[in-house]
């Protein structure tokens, strides 16, 4: 039982030491990784347990701050990630809150929990996924929010005056483009129950976004519930996590600009 390879086995990035340092800054991670190789007799029991946990899951950085390909072992119980002093730290990503998310084990499952971050945690969908009203979806570089419980028209005010707004157009879905910095770009209101998103020839097109596939995703309103389906896009469709979400082997998680792949042994 010599668990030496778990930490750096896939490390091909240019800055291995950075990852090492990031992991090593946290006491219990230090214990699992470092002390194991030195085989201190007095720590062997602790190490053994830590190694077993470490083998349960790890995160591999797919795309991010130059450390692509490095791995983060999830050896303890909780593993905080963020821009600040966390075991999984990306100090140069301005879209991460100091403490952004927690990768934790709960009931023998790995979950990701949003720690009240500003920008949230996004998980790639693999099957049609129900969206809550106002859900946020990430496709390519676009951060979209979708509403399907649209407000009804106005009633006259207390004096019996009607509000004179624009002509009434039926709408089932409202999709907003959330710009970097918090402003809203365009807003589309769609009358149909199905809206396709992609680079061209869809209901909503992003001809200039290099990370969006020709046909990327589909929103569908059925029985009062809204579903999002990935249409086999190259880079995937991500949905913002509300609270926490169970992760499976092969899931992808976006934290800020960091794309991580979940590997569960």
């Amino acid at each position: 039982m010599v668990p030496v390879s778990f930490e750096v086995e896939t490390r091909v990035g240019p800055r291995p030491s950075a990852v090492h340092a990031a992991v090593a800054t946290q006491p219990h991670d230090t214990r699992t990784a470092r002390d194991s190789r030195e085989s201190k007799p007095g720590r062997s029991t602790l190490f053994f347990g830590g190694a077993m946990q470490a083998a349960r899951a790890k995160l591999t950085l797919i795309r991010g701050d130059g450390d692509d390909g490095v791995s983060f072992t999830l050896a303890g119980q909780d593993h905080l990630a963020g821009r600040g002093d966390c075991p999984i730290s990306f100090p140069d990503d301005p879209f991460l809150s100091p403490i952004h998310a927690n990768f934790a084990y709960a009931s023998h499952q790995l979950v990701v929990r949003d720690e009240g971050s500003l920008n949230g945690v996004y998980v790639r969908i693999s099957t049609p996924t129900e969206l809550v009203n106002g859900a946020m979806v990430l496709v390519g570089e676009q951060v979209l929010s979708v509403e399907h419980a649209l407000q009804p028209a106005d009633l006259p005010d207390a004096e019996g005056t009607y509000y004179s707004a624009s002509m009434v157009r039926p709408a089932a879905l409202e999709i907003r483009q959330n710009l970097r910095g918090g402003q809203i770009g365009w807003v589309h209101r769609m009358a149909g129950d199905i809206v396709t998103i992609g680079r061209e020839n869809n209901d909503i097109n992003f001809p200039d976004d290099p990370f969006i596939s020709g046909r990327h995703a589909e929103l569908k309103l059925a029985g009062g519930m809204l579903w999002v389906t990935d249409l086999g896009s190259r880079n995937g469709t991500f949905v913002r996590v509300h609270g926490e979400r169970v992760l499976k082997h092969g899931d992808y998680v976006f934290l800020g600009q960091q794309l991580l792949r979940v590997e569960i042994v």
Partner: protein
């Protein structure tokens, strides 16, 4: 959907004129669909302009057809509407008298038409149908001897051709009840003239020098417009000019633009049936802890126009990019293809030296800018109050 009787095209319910052939659509429209504006594609004026008398509710409203003033009722004078004798009946019964020549009124009554009392129908809002007189309102119509149009009984002049109805029905000079009304005023010097959807002139609201309150409580021409607040606006006439002030009305006061105007963030404008809010898209500011809000990359949007669809509800939004963006029904950068009151190419928003300007591009119905607080207006200005368009006469 409303199917056009003439060409068969399906039109949206709120359209008053067919988008295919321009014929007037007769189906009952819904609230919100009516704007007192001309159609971009002009209506077939032969089709009874009085029939679609949008905005004339005050004159031809549901209360009118019965017996204005009571003097012309079924028991009134020598004319019995119940009589089977085909006597000319200028009022009080259906104007569509078969075989009745347009000059009919001349042969008949010795009585002058009873003037609509100033208060006319009660300002009843219950069952209010914004801006539209139901078809039954045509019952009280007289026929203009000059052009044959139906004219509401309270009108002294034909709304279509301007023919003086008093002369038609009362060849002899008769003292008019209530002195002021009887003055032979061709067009009031200080007044607001209603402009109907087909472009013809409707009723007139007299103004006086000094302060004039406008709103549902201040005159027959206003009282059936449910989009007007009871006390909506104030028009102060001083010298040769006037200031119009929004008195915290629900829907505000809009003035038709006659030249380019600068837009500031939050300015509300109207083109066709679209109520739009201009907003600047500013550079993002950093948050206290240094975290930036994630989002789509901004390709250079510097502003946007948001469609207002309710008091606190917004609909579609169109970002503004580059030096200028045009608005229209078909040929703009931003299009409202289903709004027949927007011209093909209607207006332009321009970014110049860090400032934003709005210009009308010769649209049929004009571009309207909301009055924030108060604003000076001149003679022949067009003002949109509620659902009704008025021309202000100050000369």
């Amino acid at each position: 959907m409303t199917v056009c009787n003439r060409c068969g095209k399906e039109n949206q319910d709120h359209y008053k004129f067919c988008l295919g052939c321009g014929a007037e659509l007769t189906a009952a429209p819904k609230p919100g669909g009516d704007m007192a504006m001309m159609k971009t594609m002009m209506a077939d004026t032969g089709a009874s302009p009085a029939g679609g008398m949008a905005g004339l509710g005050g004159m031809a409203g549901p209360g009118v057809p019965g017996a204005p003033g009571g003097a012309g009722g079924p028991g009134g004078m020598m004319r019995g509407p119940s009589s089977a004798v085909p006597q000319p009946l200028p009022r009080g019964s259906a104007s569509a008298m078969p075989g009745m020549p347009p000059s009919g009124p001349l042969g008949g009554p010795a009585m002058p038409p009873v003037m609509q009392p100033p208060m006319g129908p009660p300002p009843g809002v219950p069952g209010f149908s914004p801006g539209f007189a139901p078809p039954a309102a045509a019952a009280g119509m007289r026929r203009c001897p000059s052009c044959g149009s139906d004219v509401p009984p309270s009108f002294r002049f034909c709304g279509t051709c301007g023919f003086r109805m008093d002369e038609a029905s009362a060849p002899m000079p008769v003292p008019m009840p209530g002195g002021g009304l009887g003055q032979p005023v061709g067009r009031a010097r200080l007044s607001m003239t209603l402009i109907r959807p087909d472009g013809t002139e409707g009723g007139t609201h007299e103004l006086r020098p000094g302060e004039n309150k406008l709103g549902r409580s201040f005159g027959a021409v206003f009282e059936n417009d449910g989009y007007l607040s009871p006390i909506h606006a104030q028009l102060d006439i001083r010298g040769g000019g006037a200031m119009i002030r929004d008195l915290d009305s629900l829907n505000g006061v809009f003035v038709k633009m006659t030249q380019e105007e600068e837009l500031t963030s939050g300015q509300i404008i109207r083109i066709g049936q679209e109520l739009l809010r201009f907003e600047v898209i500013a550079q993002p500011e950093p948050t206290p802890d240094g975290t930036e809000l994630m989002g789509s990359p901004n390709p250079g949007y510097w502003g946007k126009l948001t469609v207002i669809i309710g008091r606190e509800i917004t609909g579609a939004a169109f970002p503004l990019l580059g030096d200028s963006s045009t608005l229209g029904r078909e040929r703009g950068d931003i299009n409202f293809p289903d709004d027949g009151y927007v011209s093909g190419l209607h207006a332009r928003v321009t970014l110049r030296d860090g400032r934003v300007f709005l210009a009308d591009l010769g649209s049929s119905n004009g571009t309207f800018i909301k009055v924030n607080g108060e604003r000076a207006i001149g003679h022949d200005s067009f003002v949109l109050l509620g659902q009704q368009l008025f021309r202000v006469n100050l000369a």
